[in-house]
Point group: C2
Chain length 189, copies 2
């Protein structure tokens, strides 16, 4: 997606430990107009899949998932990372390790909101090692629902997640794949 790549090149900052900061438009400050273009692109790629639900993980995925869901006219469900009084006891759970936060956490989705009949599109901002998607896949499998694919805004192609998921047969559509950030220079696939 050309518009996204241009934005990454003009505003993204490469930092140590393979971190790409895109907090001016993607995951801290949010450019809602760009998100609409992202949502349209995901719809273009998945529109013939009869998606019934978009699933993501709090927090950065929620905005992209909500804007994208407008084009599919389906609800969003976001997995929660913290136990809350707002959550039921009857939950699907899965362990996920966050690359950027460096900690393990348990993600949870109420059993009420993923049904066997659901055809699910996962939406997330980044794909690095694939842990978030694997955690969500575990929950979707447990629910007996169908994982149609994953729509990713930025894939770090030099980390193992993309290859791992595609080798498992998961359809991964990334709008920008970065093959290298060596010496601070961003090279797209």
């Amino acid at each position: 997606m050309q518009l996204l790549k241009e934005r990454i090149l003009s505003e993204g900052r490469v930092e140590k430990e393979s971190i790409l900061k895109v907090d001016s438009f993607l995951n801290h400050q949010i450019d809602v107009n760009l998100f609409n273009e992202i949502g349209k692109e995901f719809h273009k790629r998945f529109h013939d899949e009869n998606i019934t639900k978009i699933v993501t993980i709090e927090a950065s995925g929620i905005g992209i998932a909500c804007i994208t869901a407008q084009y599919f006219n389906v609800p969003v469900v976001f997995a929660k990372k913290a136990m809350s009084k707002n959550l039921d006891d009857d939950l699907f759970e899965s362990k996920v390790c966050s690359y950027t936060k460096g900690v393990d956490c348990t993600i949870r989705i109420s059993k009420k909101y993923i049904r066997k009949s659901d055809k699910i599109l996962i939406i997330d901002d980044f794909l690095a090692n694939g842990n978030a998607i694997l955690g969500l896949k575990e929950i979707i499998d447990e629910a007996g629902a169908e994982l149609v694919g994953a729509g990713i805004v930025i894939e770090k192609g030099f980390q193992k997640g993309g290859t791992l998921l595609r080798n498992m047969g998961i359809r991964v559509e990334s709008l920008a794949i970065i093959d290298s950030m060596e010496n601070g220079k961003i090279i797209f696939r």
Copy 2:
């Protein structure tokens, strides 16, 4: 907002400790069509205020803020609760106590994303004791920006937040104010 009140009455569940569960459409599963109606309503109430930015706190506020921001054509900034490699060192910080999670946390916004010239609308899903809004107000004040008001989806009118904030002169627009949930019966103001 009649549509919202009807939805609260039909799907909301009152639980112990003054908890209202609306996780089927507001803060776990998300009804994006309803969010659009909510966004339009916030725009109707604040459209003449020259808002330059919508600010919220992760996670439940993000979806509502993003959908609402489409009507104002402004960016969203969401305060983060966890330190992350994606965050800068140069941050505004504030302490916030979460009513539903029962823990204190520090919220953070990068100094780059709130400017002195900003006219800010805070958007959040719930108003109970007002701590989240007060935490964001502290950050907005420190930045020297202007807090135009707060758009709240559900205000628990029997908790102190609404009165506290309005007595401070903050314009609070709540789309549904619940005055009582005694014996599981929801009474709107």
